[in-house]
Amino acid sequence: MSTHTEDAAHVGATPVTFAKVWIVLLILTGVEVLLAYEQVPTMIMLTILVGLSIIKAALIIAYFMHLKFEKLSLFLTLFPMLIFCIVLMLIFLGDATRIPNMRPPV
């Protein structure tokens, strides 16, 4: 049956790969902490932090959570809708930025 071939496909990455991914994640975290120490302007800081976090999340999902070595159909079933739903939450960003200007003067 096909279960035998599945076992062979399971060995996708070696402990050396995992250690390398771990080191990259630590370095990216270090860069983030350095940015916080340097007190970068808020919007630049937010953009870089979110960007680095997405890279870190992608590394964790691809290697630690093994998704890189799964079938493409699993990725296509799970992630496009997740990304779409998260992006939908940005709809309220405009309202959030307007509220401070709509406060009655104290």
């Binding site: 399971h10 060995v11 402990p15 940015l35 120490y37 930025t97 509220i99």
Partner: protein, 211 residues
């Protein structure tokens, strides 16, 4: 014509009777849970961010030393526990149950360290800085509400993960679970780590106070 016939006759994984994702059902179920749970967490992260944007006087309660250094150590604990978890899955795939239990124990030490550090940080915020879920000295009650909801839900996930791993660890020692069961618990643990990779920069680093 003959090519059309051969296309129609070729069996597809989508015809039914086999797993089109080539995974077992437990793993697929855990993936579905992870996707829905990540929507919960992203909703809370968006709630935190929007509350922050609507309040120009949002506090920056985290001094670089010690609070940011402290939470960096917590991040290190969680990241390293992810590495040991992946080693546990690797050992179980090679049929080495003793090594698997050892790696799971190491993962629990990392996760336990995270919870202890996180709780001591909570207690410092509550007892020293007088921040509660409803009030704080800076007059922005939403800070406490969103902060404790977000980090509290994450800490709950870590504690549930520790219980899950404890069950897996002792089961593996007694020869109970299969390799895919450890892999499924690993998926959950990596997800907890992944969520922290967003909470740490957005909640802690964005509120860092230097000097």
């Amino acid at each position: 014509m003959s090519s059309q016939v051969s296309v129609a006759a070729r069996p597809s994984v989508w015809d039914g009777g086999q797993s089109p994702y080539a995974t077992n059902s437990k793993k697929f179920g855990m993936w579905l849970f992870i996707i829905s749970d990540s929507l919960t967490f992203s909703a809370l992260l968006f709630a935190y961010t929007y509350s922050r944007v609507t309040n120009p006087d949002w506090p920056k309660p985290f001094d670089f030393t010690p609070a940011i250094i402290f939470s960096t150590v917590m991040t290190f604990c969680l990241l390293s526990s992810s590495l040991t978890m992946v080693m546990a899955v690797n050992a179980m795939n090679h049929g080495n149950r003793k090594a698997t239990a050892g790696w799971i124990l190491a993962t629990m030490v990392g996760g336990g360290g995270f919870v202890v550090l996180h709780l001591s940080e909570w207690l410092k915020l509550i007892n020293v800085e007088h921040v509660t879920a409803f009030d704080n000295p800076w007059g922005v009650p939403l800070f406490g509400g969103t902060f404790f909801a977000l980090t509290g839900l994450h800490m709950t996930h870590v504690i549930i993960g520790l219980i899950y791993l404890a069950i897996m660890g002792q089961g593996v020692m007694r020869g109970k679970f299969k390799a895919e069961d450890v892999e499924v618990s690993g998926l959950y643990w990596h997800f907890v780590d992944l969520v922290w990779m967003f909470i740490f920069p957005l909640v802690y680093l964005m509120s860092a106070r230097v000097g």
